[in-house]
Symmetry: C2
Subunit: 209 residues, 2 copies
């Protein structure tokens, strides 16, 4: 086993350090966040930090680096409050990854990456048509992470769109059925296959003698 | 496609709501967090919320529900500052999931779940011996998420232990090589297989005419 300590990874140049630190805590969720500006320009950006925060109320969180690429996502969310979270499937990982390029604010990433956009009837937020799980979310709050200047966005889940065959009887969404991928580091996309679902873990009581 | 709105998932009973809201944002990282109390009692608990926060300085975050099961993790981290984050591999998903049972504070989850513990020479923090990627982390700060009372713990990565064959030349850790799993919802464990690593995405310039 190799051991790298703080001084080792601080001594690395930027790209290897990004690779190492982005891949060391395991798989990340793979989503495209869709937004619209007040001028009506659509934006789409890949995010690997969308995380469950709570079920009642239904809340998610994700991390934004305001000084890097997905800053249009941030300004759009602040302007319109609503945004979409769209699961990335195997069939469009190439296009999804391309949204991470540093496009100008006036560029519609749906167009340049040729990802099909869908507007649901009741709101202006753009969704990814071929995504098997799509969330309509609403901005709730944000926390500045003072340690590095990132922003932890808190949002409520307003609607969940899910392909019929992914939703099980107990409302668990089977992600591999939709060929939903997981992200490894900054640039690796992995396919997945369910091994097992476990029952609720209980303390195993030893029989009394 | 099925559409569920806020009123639908608020009307669900607890378990289906937990299933739905925990699985709708995609795969989560699968880690065991190891801690030790000031009395020297070891604790191990499964977490699916460990997320990358930044690479320079190397920071991770994770979400704690102080009123539910992993509360010993929180009190131990507050007492000793240091903890370990250990990637979960296919070979021990059953044991890893069992750590989520509501054991009493005096119970050592390594013992009851028969997960082999390893103490590295320079600190008291317990690690999971068979884990292919192990992090030594140090508590830095916490943010109370006022919307639901959860706590976002911020920690620095002090050391990374990684099996030789997982570490590529550019310091990217190839997670599927270590049979590291991803979590689907509360109780589903998925195996993974790398599809592709993409180069850094650049804006595609159209040729000038």
């Amino acid at each position: 086993m190799i051991c790298l300590d703080k001084s080792d990874f601080q001594a690395l140049s930027k790209v290897p350090r990004l690779n190492l630190i982005n891949s060391c805590m395991g798989y990340k969720s793979a989503n495209l966040i869709g937004t619209v500006s007040k001028e009506g320009i659509y934006n789409l950006a890949v995010f690997s930090s969308v995380t469950h925060l709570g079920s009642d109320p239904a809340l998610i969180g994700f991390i934004l680096r305001p000084t890097t690429v997905p800053r249009h996502t941030y300004s759009n969310i602040k302007e319109s409050d609503y945004f979409s979270v769209n699961a990335i499937s195997e069939s469009f990982i190439n296009k999804a990854h391309q949204t991470s390029a540093n496009y100008a604010p006036e560029v519609n990433e749906f167009e340049v990456t040729e990802i099909d956009m869908e507007i649901k009837t009741d709101c202006l937020v753009p969704f990814v048509k071929s995504s098997p799980v799509q969330l309509l979310c609403k901005y709730v709050n944000e926390y500045l992470i003072e340690e590095n200047g990132t922003i932890h966005i808190i949002a409520s889940i307003e609607k969940i769109y899910v392909e019929n065959e992914l939703l099980s009887d107990d409302y668990w969404i089977r992600l591999d059925q939709g060929k939903i991928v997981a992200i490894n580091g900054l640039d690796g996309y992995a396919k997945t296959e369910l091994i097992e679902r476990f029952p609720y873990a209980r303390v195993i009581q030893k029989p009394e003698i």
